[in-house]
Symmetry: C2
Subunit: 327 residues, 2 copies
């Protein structure tokens, strides 16, 4: 799949990202080797980003790399697993500049250290089309301890980490539709561009949660995914939605509080976790998250049935399209 | 990464391909779980195909699916591993027809049974660009038994499976540049479109070979990859190149035998294996391959140094661009 220029790029720029990981074989082979310790399972996830579809043309390529990697690591976090390694399959546009290529690798390099992952393989090619980045990430979890979407049980509470809606507002800032002060501007853009996969919660999740999902499609859509996969009804109270100070300041200036909360709950890219936790464990779970410096809030609960009930400003509302706003 | 239509497509068409594999979680989660048996390592490989670049627009989508999957399985075969599962990350063109989508899934379905693999996850999206298919495949190999490119030793012979050049001629047929009788036409097109990953040779490779690579870039280029990765010189005799009856008939009608042999040895997509085998083991290795109905031929050997020597019609020739003809 690779032409001459790609070989050089792999050897000069990508191979250093594989240094020290024996099974990566220096990126000189067509495949990589992964060992999984006894009593562990491998978690595998893939996500693809396409320029013009998932990020605007002209986005800093280092940010593209970091967000692509973090989106995958977030899926590993939701399974209560520990990340190990990743592969990249890249289709460069035929006119890709060295700055684009090098910026992308710089971004991977920055985040590898932060998250303790190593590049172990992949594929690069170029084509007459948009820049496309497919990442496959690998994690490890004690056998039978992985959380899935389908484990929620009636009576479980819906617990959400961090704050919701910042990425939604970050996009408004990026598009020039919202112009807060520099502090909020920086904060909201970072929340959009550099999500923080919740990787330090694996033990608390394994110990206390029944199910989890990362919020990439939107709070409502992803919480609903949990309920549907578990065959349960869900009540979700957007008044309990945890907000950052920056989001609170935005919300305080909106005329329609309900529509504003719904917008924040319908946009993806927060990369927080939505978890189903048995009621008796909620306090312990939230306390353990607090020890890891991760705030958490209870937004509702699961019950027998199949209905999705969304509340805002004390009223039941129609969630509408839910979480598909960017498609 | 998925809109409403994609959820339906995953549930209706892709999820059945994951049936029976517990860790695929019915394709309802963002990640999959893979168990690796004690004493085994996981082999992971990724390859991407882009419409208009790696296959012509209008190619039967089932053939695209099968070739994409087989290209990945061929990488697993070259490592002497056994395939287990695969993931697909697909970017559909925004105007993708149902026939394209369904044809693609039909192709995967046909080949899953043949090769004993199961779809365990991935990602689908659509974008304003060419159809792009990234496949990641997983295999299993006894720990420390995987073959890599870098294991060849001085004195090893270069052993090649099957026949070389058929895919090159298949492309000439597809493009209308070569018009043999119907029998050869069908045979050569099949060799181009439906490569046969050499998956039934894992035990013979583990027992007898020092290194292996699959021939996807071309006989010369890939054999040279083996030599370079192993830090060795290689002599490669194109007169010993194994040819199918169809390729022999084509060659007999060419004016320039050397140029014709070079063309066949410089084109990729044969998906045969080039192996480095110690001289004392060659006869046993070839005999074991014969038992598996796989012909094999000795085309040259490795020595200390770094030189690539290519012979054709008894003369040393300049291999030129080697294996990059389709880039």
């Amino acid at each position: 799949m690779t032409g001459k220029g790609e070989f050089d790029f792999i050897a000069d720029r990508l191979a250093p990202l594989a240094a020290g990981f024996k099974g990566a074989l220096g990126l000189k082979d067509d495949a990589a080797l992964l060992s999984v310790r006894a009593g562990r399972e491998l978690v595998v996830t893939a996500d693809t980003l396409v320029e013009g579809r998932h990020f605007p043309q002209g986005t800093d390529p280092a940010l593209v790399a970091r967000k692509a990697l973090r989106a995958n690591l977030s899926d590993i976090a939701a399974m209560a697993a520990r990340p190990i390694a990743y592969m990249t399959s890249i289709v460069w546009p035929t006119d890709a500049s060295d700055a684009l290529r090098n910026g992308f690798v710089d971004g991977l390099e920055m985040d590898q250290e932060t998250f303790g992952v190593v590049l172990i393989g992949g594929d690069t090619t170029s084509a007459d089309g948009p820049w496309t980045i497919a990442i496959t990430a690998f994690g490890e979890v004690p056998a039978s301890k992985a959380l899935t979407r389908s484990g929620a049980r009636p009576g479980d509470k819906l617990v959400v980490t961090g704050t919701i809606g910042d990425a939604c507002l970050g996009l408004k800032v990026a598009q020039g539709a919202y112009k807060p002060d520099a502090g909020d501007r920086g904060y909201l853009l970072d929340r959009l561009n550099l999500p923080q996969p919740r990787l330090n919660l694996a033990e608390a999740l394994q110990a206390h949660a029944h199910a989890a999902i990362d919020i990439s499609d939107g709070l409502i859509a992803d919480s609903h995914h949990l309920a549907k996969a578990s065959g349960l009804a869900l009540t979700l109270d957007l008044d309990a939605m945890p907000l950052s100070d920056a989001a609170r300041r935005w919300l305080d200036n909106q005329d329609d509080s309900t529509a504003s909360r719904l917008a924040m709950a319908s946009f993806g890219d927060d990369y927080e976790l939505a978890c189903a936790v048995p009621e008796a464990r909620v306090d312990t779970f939230v306390a353990e998250l607090a020890k890891a410096d991760v705030p958490a809030a209870v937004l509702g609960g699961f019950a027998t049935g199949s209905r999705l009930t969304v509340l805002a400003d004390g009223q039941q509302i129609d969630p509408g399209a839910g979480g598909f706003t960017h498609f």
